[in-house]
Symmetry: C2
Subunit: 417 residues, 2 copies
């Protein structure tokens, strides 16, 4: 019986770890290009960024109030205020030449430059001013109080952004605050996305009985975009060897990564293993993972070919475990798997159908006081896209585990949303 299974199924399944290692070993980081910082949202930075300036770049006030010599305020109290003379005013953005001597105060705004001679700022609410510009100070300040010293936040030449960071609004703000108007980022890899299958019909067309609408290229292409790649081609192909071969060889000319769904297994119309083996070098065929077992990973020089299963959830899992991380590795991203992780408690026992596989359990999360509870989204089969749309994340059950017990702590990899 097992002999028969072996003949029809996979001779040997590769572990997820080993398959990823083989895949990553073939990836060369893509070239960089210069872009404007203002247009850098979601790009991966290709260089470490050093601070160009001290931050703050000058001693500045952290409060609205009066710049003073701290010593002049010592001993001040509401019942026994200290007196100083107001000798001027410095607004924010103003490059003032004013110098302050003992017994004097200069009105200063938050963010304005501290004048020479001053070593502290008294808050406006700790003062009162008389008609003749005499200031009464009701509380003492220590030297350095209510001011920010040049370079105290960031020293010049300190690394402020590490290469491989995916730039978000706050990174762009940080770069702008340094006056850095152009940066090097990694190019977006060009990706071609194919679905194969005689049963597939494109949306907008009538559906024959026994046919299904193609949902794989829209899903995979949008995952590619979400992960930072550039989709240059989306197409659905019939199960025809010469058609698939032609499309693969054409796509390899213009793409960094070619993705297929369907036709990767060992059925009578699964042509991809044969076609890919003739046109590229196969790294892995058959991974000990469910769903997603029939995945095929190959490369032609520096170009990658990943054939994901045709059932949508298996294609999704194949993407997030292999294609997505490969794409981000190619871009030099620090995080190749961008999914956030949450720790939760499983609500019920979840046995696995068969050990030896990395199982991907779709779960919903509920927050209960100070913990999250994960519940399995139990839907038959890996074709059911609603098992993804109804889920918050995926729990991986390792190949050594028989399942998860109720109350067990699990790591939930949150779906990219």
């Amino acid at each position: 019986m097992i002999e028969r299974l072996r003949k029809i199924g996979f001779a040997k399944l590769t572990s997820v770890e080993e398959a990823l290692e083989k895949l990553f070993a073939k990836i060369k980081i893509i070239n960089s290009k210069e872009i404007e910082t203002l247009k850098a949202l979601n790009w991966i930075i290709a260089e470490d960024i050093e601070s160009q300036i001290n931050v703050p770049s000058f001693d500045k006030s952290a409060m609205d109030g009066y710049a003073v010599v701290a010593e002049d305020t010592f001993g001040a109290s509401p019942s026994n205020p200290k007196y100083v003379n107001k000798v001027g005013k410095i607004e924010i953005g103003e490059d003032s030449d004013l110098k302050l001597k003992k017994g004097e105060a200069i009105r200063i705004s938050t963010g304005a430059m501290i004048p020479d001679g001053a070593d502290a700022v008294v808050k406006i609410e700790d003062t009162e001013i008389d008609e003749d510009d005499k200031i009464r100070i009701f509380n003492p300040v220590a030297p350095g109080k209510n001011m920010a010293k040049e370079g105290e936040d960031i020293q010049k030449e300190q690394i402020i952004i590490d290469k491989g960071t995916e730039l978000k609004a706050e990174h762009i703000a940080l770069l702008c605050s340094q006056g850095i108007d152009k940066i090097k980022v990694r190019k977006k890899p060009n990706v071609s996305v194919f679905a194969t299958g005689d049963e597939l019909v494109e949306i907008g067309n009538p559906l024959g009985k026994s046919q299904i609408y193609n949902s794989n290229t829209p899903m995979i292409a949008n995952l590619v975009r979400t992960y930072g790649g550039e989709v240059i081609l989306e197409a659905t192909l019939k199960d025809n060897k010469s058609l698939i071969t032609q499309n693969l060889t054409d796509a390899l000319k213009s793409s960094d990564i070619v993705l297929f769904t369907g036709g990767t297994s060992v059925g009578t119309q699964d042509y991809l293993p044969e076609i890919v083996s003739k046109n590229a070098d196969i790294l892995t065929h058959g991974v000990a993972m469910r769903p997603g077992e029939p995945i095929l990973i190959a490369h032609k020089d520096e170009k990658l070919i990943l054939c994901l299963p045709g059932t949508p959830v298996a294609a999704y899992v194949g993407f997030i475990k292999f294609a997505g991380p490969a794409l981000r590795k190619m871009m030099g991203a620090m995080e190749t798997d961008p999914r956030r992780e949450i720790i939760a408690e499983m609500d019920k026992d979840v046995p696995v159908s068969r050990m030896g596989y990395l199982h991907h359990l779709r779960v919903q999360l509920k927050q209960n006081e100070h913990k999250f509870i994960a519940s399995s989204v139990r839907l038959k089969g890996s074709g059911i896209i609603t098992s993804l749309t109804k889920s918050d994340g995926i729990v991986e059950i390792s190949k050594e585990q028989e399942g998860i017990k109720a109350g067990e702590k699990v790591v939930v990899k949150v779906l990219i949303r």
Copy 2:
């Protein structure tokens, strides 16, 4: 002393909850428009989507094997196989007229239509075929085994996507699988973003002493994009009343939301409260939140005006607590705050400087076995953008809390990355 503070500071601070409630009460959900499903990534759907078809839309095989009458397999074992006659073959996507009778089997692929008369599928690996097309079956199957019944995953007219969902790759796949090629989504609100301040210089220009580069419009504009809005204008304005007034009144003509940073407090050059009060209705000025206290929220009919503080971190916090949620509320999003939450343990005591405020503590997260540990990113001042770029998330300390104790469980709102 308190009297003096009151005269200069805010007469009364509004709680975050009350300010949000007042703001949300003024928000009208924006119009919808029809777009192609294939272009719907990250748009917010404006309608509940009902299933158009049963899924699967026909009884289909879940395995490669033989469609049979289950009864014919009863009692089969490796040593005592049951025999049936192969009478045909159905490929995936093929609309077959074949009918199956007792004693017969039809070769069938995964996903192919189950022929009339069959009520189960025997897996290929549980069979052997002789030269005369006699099939030996080594294991029995119960009726319904290895097949998916029409409608078992999704019933026609069942709601499969709720309005207000932000569409991701898997939602698009689900819509496509239903043949839904056009959908209604909420328009992206038009947002104008202004920074005010005499001290601000745009990147690409030389920096005078006492000046700083503008980092607020790039940050806020990119947050608007991340939250789903359309930035129609970004500009930096000097602290000049007529200039700011002109820009506000112009922006109100074309924008759904107008955002300012800077000039919102009670300093001598904080013109926005006065300007906004003359041109719109103020809902809140001064919120019991740190950083972010001087935030000003107003509306002019259905248009919103939010003036965020000028220090970058306070502007960021003001955005994620008010402007971002307002934007998403306007788009009818189910989740107005899209940040994921993680539960972590605080590593050390964190006292708050003053109770009565909702404090926003920036933290880094480390995973330690089956828990996350949060550490405060202690950097002075709310101007320090690195306190955001170095953080993984924000812990909110409520106005009733004196701080957080080491070991206490906290909810970390993960930065949008």
